[in-house]
Symmetry: C2
Subunit: 133 residues, 2 copies
DNA sequence: CTTGACGTTTACGTAAACGTCAACTAACAT
DNA sequence: ATGTTAGTTGACGTTTACGTAAACGTCAAG
């Protein structure tokens, strides 16, 4: 009944549009740890979600090392208060970075959208160049 | 009167928190082209703005090559219609990418903020684990 | 039974984006 | 004149994130 869905490396590769090589590389880096059927890797739903997470992390500029750290952060259960505070601080730094990056993205999107407008109506462009009427 | 402000490489490096080496590298790649006073590079306001643009581009994931292309796109004045459409298409692709990236950023920010909350109030965490009361 | 599709490991290669010398010049300060 | 402080140009080194090729196992289809 509880036959959880599993995936081959090629399935994941196709779904997420990365190479098998990349997925194995993430494993080398300790980011993911599928079970094995003999020699072949078998990924379950959790692995699937984990890979999705990794790729999102990458897309927003985290290095694989940082992603590894973040994934580890989720599993601090030692309860040490100091460690907790250090982690909190680093998280907040990351969040600040990402918010700044979001602003930069917004800026860039505006830039390109503005440029597109010029591309679409070049006549306007020339007029604007002479007088902003 | 029209004494435009200029900058040395070190000034720019400090202001933007990059190394002089990096700035020279951008020049090698054709992204920026300061004038010279003898051997030394002199950057004007336009160069300053250009560098800012480059760094924002980088921060949102463009490669230096892509940034070069984008900067070039701004100076297509040949008026060829086909070229214009190609450019438009590529711009729109980029914009779509960036919007997706913005979503990913929002997701990640939420993730980390959620995690921070757990870090701040660990008691809550345990309670939640048992029953979401 | 061999061909093909898919998987594996090991090992070396590579592109991007700089870092890091080394060796030099030119301008100043002492 | 001499040391310190910027700046310069190569040239080579480094890290990250995979690509790529070699050499092989496994299983289903023809």
């Amino acid at each position: 009944m509880t036959e959880e869905q599993t995936y081959s490396i090629a399935q994941l590769a196709q779904e997420f549009d990365v190479t098998s090589r990349a997925i194995r590389f993430y494993e080398d880096q300790g980011l993911i740890n599928p079970t094995r059927d003999g020699q072949s890797r078998i990924y379950n739903k959790a692995d699937h979600a984990r890979l999705a997470w990794i790729l999102k992390g990458k897309s927003v500029g985290f290095s694989l090392g940082e992603i590894g750290e973040l994934l580890n952060l989720y599993s601090i259960d030692d309860g040490r208060q100091h460690q907790r505070l250090v982690t909190l601080e680093r998280c907040n730094e990351r969040i600040a970075d990402m918010k700044e990056q979001k602003d930069n993205l917004a800026f860039m999107i505006k830039e390109l959208e503005g440029f597109c407008k010029i591309l679409v109506s070049p006549e306007m462009d020339e007029k604007i160049k002479k007088a902003a009427s």
